[in-house]
């Protein structure tokens, strides 16, 4: 099958799977539903794996037979197809993980949960593969609608409902901002196709219309990517969503935001009449650094395990934003690998905290202190995941981090320190929680009354038969995901393919030629090197070492500075800003949009 068939199939397979589940769910047994869902998820993995291996530099599919000047064209380079493949792999993992884990409603509601997961998958795949700006908005909304419903899944508990509402309102508002931006660009160019939009902008000088259009379009993507100060919804939604949904949201959905920014910038705004490279680089690296720092600090403060992992995702997305904003093929290569490996690792960590939730009905680091000693194998996996998160070689996260650091160091020599710090602190926080929960090390931390925090106790268990044995798939899936993250670092072929993809991703001229004329031109850009270097290995070991030392210190002496310390006061202020208040979140969003407009306008 050629790409003209594979590209639309990547959206059609999960859509058909979900419709099939919705029809047959009420007739089939639980096992039957699981078989249908697994079959659809497997078919999607096969389809995207074929696309990834056969697509070449850029595969296109003209939908309805209409060329780009009239219709919608799907376009996949190895980065976009690879991200869709990551989504498909994680969805398969989630479906298998949920086999015996998840307490699904029965009767007329049977099959609805996996059907929504598949719709979520269709939205993410469509977003990654589309070459049309308005179509990207539609798929953005599809993944949003599925995700809001899935986040609010546990209707007996008010917190998931609150998290889902914040998520839904903030994301939808940002999506409407994006649509306004699309309207502005359409008025200027009369185009919706990304490649043709880029060409259309070249006929006008860069002015405030370009800046405002770009910022408005970027708003939805930054909200999805949870960049500071657009990130507030993410910890709320992740802390409360069902574990399988967290695996998908943290592992792939959030990263799609960073991908979208890179894709839209390169195809539409990178040329004449767009946003100058310097302005974009400075602005978005600043945003990335801020996100990485805030995420890391907040991650360290958490005791709710899922919220802790959510802030670690915020921090890592900051690093991904830096990698994308460098605007070099090397930065894109490193980020692509980092995203893929991080997705596997983060999904594995969420899956393992799902085991704790299943066994003990809690994800609270303090409350679970020493209680999970019996689950040593799970603890070992958890520690391995924490170390992988720090970028320990030879995990793929380590290679991705090393490549990103190398690319970032070429622009600003201090940026690699940012990568080391963010990955060490977030990894240390996860390791700290693991050491306390699975090994019972150190004293039991005492809570401080009146502290602004979310504890992880009193969670609704996600399944209601506490005396059953642990389903083997719940441990097997995270183990396989960690093995995948390891393989990403050890197989040079994967990194090589992503490097070729990055060369195509950062080459708007060949993208334009392929989409507009339909001829696949080979990318003339140089292929970045994508192997381990001594410096990369050393920096990875440094992060892992720092994280271990930090975690050990925290477990031994407590993780918080004394209350009177100025740092503690600053951190308390930062925590208080995460108020759970919808109005605050939208006020921050407005501030973010205003600041971005001002920063970009000042530089153009």
């Amino acid at each position: 099958m050629g790409p003209a068939a594979l590209l639309p199939l990547a959206v059609a397979i999960p859509l058909l799977g979900s419709a099939l589940l919705a029809v047959t769910g009420r007739l089939l047994s639980r096992v039957g539903c699981d078989i249908v869902a697994t079959a659809a998820a497997t078919a999607e993995v096969v389809c995207l794996a074929l696309l990834w291996t056969r697509g070449g530099h850029l595969a296109t599919a003209e939908l309805g037979g209409w060329p780009a000047r009239v219709g919608i064209v799907l376009a996949a380079d190895p980065i976009g197809a690879g991200l869709a493949l990551l989504v498909a792999v994680l969805v398969l993992a989630v479906v298998v993980y949920s086999w015996r884990y998840f307490d699904e409603p029965r009767g007329q509601h049977a099959g609805v949960f996996p059907a929504l997961i598949l719709l979520f998958e269709a939205g993410m795949a469509g977003f990654a593969l589309t070459g049309d700006l308005f179509n990207a908005f539609v798929f953005f909304e599809l993944m949003g609608a599925a995700a809001y419903a899935l986040t609010g899944y546990r209707i007996e508990d008010p917190r998931p409902l609150q998290g889902a509402l914040a998520f839904g309102v903030v994301t939808s508002f940002a999506a409407y901002c994006s649509l306004l931006g699309i309207g502005l660009l359409y008025a200027r160019t009369g185009e919706l196709n990304l490649a043709r939009l880029g060409r259309g902008l070249a006929g006008h000088p860069t002015d405030l219309l370009t800046v405002v259009g770009f910022v408005l379009i970027a708003t939805a993507l930054l909200v999805k990517a949870a960049a500071v100060p657009f990130h507030f919804w993410l910890p709320d939604a992740h802390a409360v969503a069902p574990t399988p949904v967290c695996m998908l949201m943290s592992g792939a959905m959030v990263e799609l935001g960073a991908y979208g920014i890179g894709r839209v910038y390169w195809t539409v705004f990178s040329g004449p009449g767009g946003i100058p490279h310097g302005a974009f680089r400075t602005t978005f690296v600043t945003l990335g650094v801020l996100t990485a720092l805030v995420g890391a600090v907040m991650c360290w403060q958490q005791r709710h395990l899922k919220r802790l992992l959510a802030f670690s995702t915020v921090s890592h997305v900051g690093l991904f934003l830096i990698g994308v904003a460098l605007l070099t093929p090397d930065g894109a290569t490193g980020t692509a690998l980092y995203v893929a490996a991080h997705g596997c690792v983060k999904a594995a960590l969420f899956a393992l905290s799902g085991v704790l939730l299943d066994r003990y009905g809690s994800v609270d680091e303090h409350g679970l202190h020493g209680r999970a000693r019996a689950l040593r194998p799970v603890g070992l996996l958890f520690a391995a995941g924490a170390l992988a998160l720090t970028g320990l070689p030879p995990f793929g996260t380590g290679l991705g981090k090393a490549l990103s650091e190398d690319a970032a160091g070429h622009w600003q020599p201090w940026l690699p320190a940012m990568f080391v710090a963010a990955s060490a602190v977030t990894g240390a926080a996860v390791l700290r929680a693991g050491l306390r929960i699975f090994w019972g090390l150190g004293p039991v931390p005492r809570g401080r009354p009146g502290e602004e925090e979310t504890s992880g106790e009193g969670e609704e268990p996600e399944i209601r038969s506490p005396r059953r044995t642990l389903p083997p798939t719940m441990v097997l899936v995270p183990a396989v995901l960690l093995a995948l993250a390891l393989a990403l670092g050890c197989l040079p072929a994967v990194a090589g393919a992503l490097a070729r993809g990055a060369a195509a991703f950062t080459d708007p001229a060949s993208y334009r030629a392929a989409v507009i004329t339909g001829r696949s031109a080979s990318s003339g850009a140089h292929e970045p090197a994508a192997g381990w270097t001594t410096a990369g290995v050393l920096l990875g070991l440094l992060s892992a070492g720092l994280a271990t030392a930090l975690a050990a210190t925290a477990v031994r002496y407590g993780s918080q500075p004394p209350r009177w310390h100025p740092a503690a006061r600053a951190v308390r202020t930062l925590r208080r800003l995460h108020s759970g208040h919808l109005g605050d979140y939208l006020a921050w969003l407005a501030l973010g949009v205003a600041v971005l407009c001002a920063m970009l306008a000042a530089q153009t």
Partner: protein, 250 residues
């Protein structure tokens, strides 16, 4: 943040955004400009495919993939509402009560319901010719059924509303859009390609796959909307509050 800080922060940001947005608007082409490049291409493409309503052609032929995503959102919302508005573990079901309505209201509903149904079908069927189509007609169809609730009571609506059948119809209609797309892929070489005979311009059979997709969307919107409203109405009419019979609460 206090309400005051929040408001000040918002107003400052909003002033900046307003300034930038106004500046951007002043650089847009003037309102009512004759220059619409995409529109010109889309109209030509629609006429080439013998579809008189060019908006329908954009929705169901030229950019049919957008509509596939859009009706999947609707499908997902129906599934999501099914999930979110399910009966919680601590809620009880109660039978809706029969209600008294004025005879004139009842007569009005009885007369209007069939008329509305016919109008809905007409709007769906003529989507490729005149303003309207699957989305608009589907909403009219769903509204028609709810006249039973307005003119009689919830029990009457429930008798008219085979929910299981509608759920299945919703899913099948959603799937059929994708299947028409795949048929285009097999027969014409491109997903969602308009492979059916295009017919005679301005006749009800014109437009190739446009009327087929219109019908699929019409069925999906009508059944999906009825199912969606059913979940909301059940909440209001048929479920008791968890606190009314529970000991303790949360």
């Amino acid at each position: 943040m206090t309400a005051r800080t929040r408001l000040i922060m918002f107003l400052a940001a909003a002033a900046v955004i307003a300034g930038f947005f106004a500046a951007a608007c002043s650089r847009l082409p003037p309102f009512g400009t004759p220059d619409h490049p995409y529109a010109a291409r889309a109209v030509a493409a629609a006429l080439a495919h013998r579809t008189a309503n060019t908006v329908a052609s954009v929705n169901f032929d030229i950019r049919a993939f957008d509509t596939l995503g859009e009706e999947s959102i609707l499908f997902g919302t129906v599934l999501g509402a099914t999930l979110l508005l399910r009966r919680a573990r601590d809620e009880r079901h109660r039978r809706a009560e029969a209600e008294r309505v004025m005879p004139t209201t009842r007569l009005f509903g009885t007369l209007l319901l069939p008329v509305t149904l016919v109008v809905g079908v007409y709007i769906v069927a003529h989507g490729q010719l005149s303003p309207g189509g699957g989305f608009q007609g589907g909403v009219v169809l769903a509204t028609a059924l709810h006249l039973a609730y307005v003119a009689a009571d919830y029990r009457a609506l429930k008798r008219l509303r085979p929910l299981t059948f509608l759920d299945v119809a919703d899913s099948l209609a959603a799937a059929s859009f994708t299947l028409v797309g795949l048929a285009g892929l097999v027969a014409g070489g491109a997903f969602l390609e308009n492979v059916l005979p295009l017919g005679t311009f301005n006749q009800i059979t014109s437009g190739g796959t446009v009327p087929v997709l219109n019908a699929a969307v019409g069925i999906e919107v009508a059944s999906g909307l009825i199912a969606l409203l059913a979940h909301f109405l059940d909440q209001a009419v048929e479920l008791t509050d968890p606190d009314q019979h529970e000991t303790g609460g949360d």
